[in-house]
Amino acid sequence: MKIKTLILATLALGITAAASAKSVELLNVSYDPTRELYQEFNSAFIKYWKAKTGDDVIIKQSHGGSGKQARSVIDGLPADVVTLALSADIDALYTNGRLLPQDWQKRLPQNSTPYTSTIVFLVRKGNPKGVRDWDDLVKPGVSVITPNPKTSGGARWNYLAAWGYARHKSGTEEAAQKFVAALYKNVPVLDSGARGATTTFVQRGIGDVAITWENEAFLALKEFGAGQFEIVVPSLSILAEPPVAVVDKVVKKKGTAGVAKAYLEYLYSDEGQDIAGRNFYRPRNPAVAAKYASVFPQLQLVTIDAEFGGWTKAQKTHFADGGVFDQIYAK
């Protein structure tokens, strides 16, 4: 009998909790390293939205490997907005389920990417293995940490940055493939997301060098103190553009289209750009970017469009089932 009352009580509790939370609610489904960025940005937007409209908005977050998160949204995770690591993952929302229009990337300025980043190396204090550039990562005895490109967006940027470097150096696709294959021979473990890979490197002490997002590397320095790790900037890397989009099908149903759009547009505002810079993402706005010029090193950056013919093509060639990555990793 007691159990029955307990069930009824807990059920009632659950129902009342659901009923009281009836103000506007947004779910932002994001990739792994943006936790700290959106924590700060959300509280700024809540204040801005309250001042502008008088409405309270609650923003819920979900983080994980970018590809995995896209998969969840396709399977029904009710995301009002997605802020993922690369456009191929948002393209997947169009191809599987038509959750947003095909031209979603044209709806916001600068390819719908309010901030950019790049790929750098994180090494242990004093750089004991003497890692200076990509060539040092394929040397025997150097253990490299990078996540799984199948589930992690950051890992795909890592892979393409290595590929871009090798092709610029050697000039041929074959040499680039050989270089990337040699690199993955030095990888002892493939985590599913960028953050998991960072904690493998910094907390569990595995590996000599972690290939990672610039913002992840800066955050690790900040969290663990600059004394334990160092950032190594390679001679060439890739311009990573993590895009954002409103998920039309979800906001239409929930009636949150207006606030979801305003949420993403606020990322482009001066305050939004400043928060991005503070969290080690490179701001798009030149004025705000100038403020953080001393933080971010200048380096040669190749783009996905120029180098790989866009994400759709890169995704198909390298990361689809049976693609180049599968061929390399199966060996």
Binding site: I3, L6, I7, T10, L13, G14, A17, L27, D32, R35, E36, K60, Q61, S62, H63, G64, S72, I74, D75, G76, L77, P78, N96, G97, R195, G196, T199, E223, F224, K249, V250, K253
Partner: protein, 305 residues
């Protein structure tokens, strides 16, 4: 379990003079060696991790430790974990007793198939258990088009209005938990009921008791300690399940994160004190479970069940 304990206690029964004819006496150093190995193993694999959890959790002092539990996301995870267990455990209690009753007391066609099916959740990886629900209830799955944001031409609109969510919401988490904790109660009861046989029930029926009376007054008192034991194990797993729940949760903070999932999130956010503080809460739940379990075993032995 109980049978195993009984035979092993027979084997080590000490003889009055230290060297009975049937008992093998090993040299002292052999015993010392194996005892040390066993103790070291227990120390390394059980005690050390437990100590590590608590020292890490208390690294920044008591106030930081207790402060971890004031975070609304942690409280929401705790609430969800308790709610999930409060639904999953009674559901499996009812099912477990019914299944064990069927299998132990009756003979029917397909009995071994049913026994195998009950064991299935033990054999399948929890990740697969979670994926099953995504495949069935996901937007691209079998029933997905009828649920949530689905747009089925006939039923879509109605279900849209009801806003029924299975996966990435509480029902999915409860379903996945029920699935992985399915066998605990039944597995505990089947051998016990089989060992007890049907004699007492037959006696009750012959004396004019109805089916329900027989069940409540004869069967249940006979199995109650085994039942408690199964429920305790089932509850421990329901609160601790990670894999299956991780797949169906969607990881929405303050909404669909259970305690084990929230531990991973906190750890990944470099919030180690809070991660270990929440882990210590789960560890305490586990210790409490063990305590209850020992108590139940002790009472069962005393009661002669």
């Amino acid at each position: 379990m109980a049978a195993l304990a009984a035979t092993s206690s027979l084997a080590v029964k000490p003889s009055p003079h230290g060297a009975g004819p049937r008992v093998i006496r090993n040299p002292w150093w052999v015993r010392a060696f194996f005892m040390t190995v066993a103790l070291l193993f227990v120390l390394c694999f059980l005690v050390l991790p437990l100590v590590a959890v608590f020292t890490e959790a208390l690294r920044k002092g008591m106030s930081a430790y207790f402060h971890s539990f004031t975070d609304p996301d942690v409280l929401s995870a705790l609430r969800l974990t308790l709610l999930t267990a409060a639904i999953a455990v009674p559901a499996n209690l009812v099912f477990g007793v019914a299944a064990a009753w069927c299998i132990a007391k009756f003979d029917f066609y397909g009995k071994s198939l049913l026994t195998t099916l009950i064991d299935l959740p033990f054999a399948v990886s929890p990740v697969i258990s979670g994926l099953i629900y995504v495949l069935v209830f996901g937007l691209q799955g079998w029933f997905g088009p009828y649920l949530g944001a689905g747009d089925h031409p006939w039923f879509g609109a109605w279900f849209n209005a009801q806003d029924i969510r299975i996966i990435f919401a509480v029902p999915g988490i409860v379903l996945a938990t029920i699935f992985v904790t399915f066998p605990f109660v039944a597995r505990e009861l089947i051998p016990l009921m089989q060992a007890q046989g049907n004699d007492e029930e037959y006696a009750a029926l012959t004396l004019g008791a109805s089916g329900w009376q027989t069940f409540w007054r004869v069967t249940v008192p006979n199995i109650k300690w085994g039942l408690f034991y199964g429920v305790i194990l089932c509850n421990a797993r329901a609160m601790g399940e990670f894999g299956a729940v991780s797949v169906v949760s969607g990881h929405i903070r303050g909404e669909t994160n259970t305690l084990p999932l929230h531990v991973e999130i906190l750890y990944n956010e470099y919030n180690f004190v809070a991660a270990f503080a929440v882990s210590s809460l789960l560890a305490l739940l586990a210790l409490l479970t063990l305590l209850l379990k020992s108590l139940v075993e002790w009472r069962a032995k005393k009661g002669g069940a």
